[in-house]
Subunit: 308 residues, 2 copies
């Protein structure tokens, strides 16, 4: 079993959907990634920063799940990063109502000593220079470096993003961002162009339409589980990435074939995440529920045509 | 091996895409369905109508493929149905430039005597009363009646559509149409409502995002093959339906498990259809190409997670 180091926000979110709205609740990419990866009982550490206003009980939720938080800096006189958003009726688009960087503005990630030899590094969505700083702190080259990013960094830090992408193995990105990054509409062509930027593996997240994994000329398609109701999509992409990274850290098999399984695990965990507000569903998820839903994914996608 | 009777337009299309434009070429739902089904060497008949302007060579293309065209009425002094459309840059939406019903306006389908005991009936997109007329001509109840429709009939013949839908086993419909027909955004909920209208099986076509097959609480997801380039989407949905119907007529196994395979065959054939203008690719398709692409569909979707 490999070690997993995660960098990402640990934050407050306030979310409004057609089904209701929340006050400030636990959120952040690092949180969702860590919670998802914790389903695999890997040794993982979250590297992040919070303010003095961040409740101890939220930190305890992570340590309870065997997530090392020694790399979560607490700035006593600072305020925790806060994001607020409102989803439209179709749940496929949202407006950001507020983004208060607070302590995140001066965030300098520090990887715990014990994790500088981690096999897997998961770089959650942050400034590409912050992501690069984590990679630079690793004392042994990770077996797998995974990076998530978003259109914001393409708009305001494209050169830095290109420099960081060169050094990673897997990028996870949504379909519109893949198109923006490459100027290509076809996701097949976009994935090839992203390969040329560095990553050997490209995961394109298509929300309710699932996710594609590209490697050289190979492609794998994991659908999203068709759901009666998407209650809150917040964190689904990070949960996907956390499941993907956690499964690979656990199995230590970084082949394309095993990465298919990692994509399925990521999709499975993401299908739970959207059932409740924020992290609620992920905090109340049992191994037998995951096992049962994996079975649903199998019957959703597996067929029996013999090719001779 | 069962017999398959198909009703649908045999027509002229003129198509414009970002890649080019055509003059009047062979088109029509009945044509695409028939060509797709012919890959399974089933006994099939197309029921349709054309004008005196319809070239004999186009009819010969069908008889060459063992498609019975005795049910294709030729109205000597009439003109063939003509549709013209222009696709937008993303290829996911199009404008209809012209629809000339011509001989289709007075179309009264006549099922050939030999096909009044066909096991499978494929009702291509037409007025629901025309579709019902075909069902009414069957002397033995088909094992499987499949219906394709579109938003146009929901707008202008909704009651007739509801009456026809009651009598069919499988409906194929695209995602936006499923939402329009039911008033539900969630495709899971929409499929359940459509079940209640009659069809035991609901196939929801999502274009580049694949297709979903619903039956009671079971669901199967066939992705579309990610393509470098979609050259012309015209006929892809009909080709899907023709592959689906043809495979089921060939195997005579109408179980949910076998219907999964039928969806995969439909998706496979549709992935070829979009590679060239109109029917061009379907007219130059070999069994070994189909076989090879089925292999691609397997590696695209099959994974190896053992559940104990």
């Amino acid at each position: 079993m490999g070690k997993l180091v995660i960098v990402g926000t640990v934050a407050f979110d306030a979310i409004e959907t057609p089904f209701g709205k929340t006050d400030k609740i636990l959120g952040g990419a690092g949180t969702f990634i860590g919670l998802a990866a914790s389903n695999f009982n890997v040794d993982s550490a979250v590297v992040s920063v919070v303010g003095g206003d961040f409740p101890q009980e939220y930190l305890d939720l992570m340590t309870d799940r065997n997530i090392d938080i020694s790399g979560v800096e607490i700035v006593k006189d600072g305020k925790t990063f806060f994001w607020s958003g409102k989803y439209h009726n179709d749940m496929n688009s949202r407006d950001t109502l507020a983004t208060e960087l607070n302590v995140l503005a001066d965030f300098e990630p520090k990887v715990p000593e014990d994790y500088k030899d981690a096999e897997v590094v998961m770089l959650g969505n942050l400034h590409p220079l912050t992501q690069m700083s984590v990679l630079n702190q690793m004392e042994t080259k990770p077996k797998l470096a995974i990076l998530d990013t978003m259109n914001f960094w393409m708009d305001c830090a494209l050169d830095d993003l290109h420099n960081t992408i060169k050094h990673i193995d897997v990028i996870t990105i949504n379909d519109e961002e893949a198109r923006q990054l490459t100027g290509e509409y076809s996701l097949v062509v976009a994935a090839r162009k992203i390969h040329e930027m560095g990553p050997k593996y490209v995961v394109i997240k298509k929300g309710e339409h699932g996710a594609l994994l590209f490697h050289d000329d190979n492609v794998f398609y994991a659908p999203a589980l068709p759901l009666e109701e998407v209650f809150d999509p917040t964190g689904a992409g990070d949960t996907f990435a956390g499941g993907f990274a956690g499964y690979l850290a656990k199995t230590e098999d970084y082949s394309f074939e095993n990465m298919k399984n990692a994509v399925i695990y990521g999709s499975t965990l993401a299908s739970f995440c959207v059932e409740k507000f924020g992290t609620e569903r992920m905090l109340n998820l049992t191994a037998s529920e995951v096992h049962k839903r994996l079975g649903q994914f199998k019957s959703l996608t597996q067929f029996d045509i013999e090719l001779t």
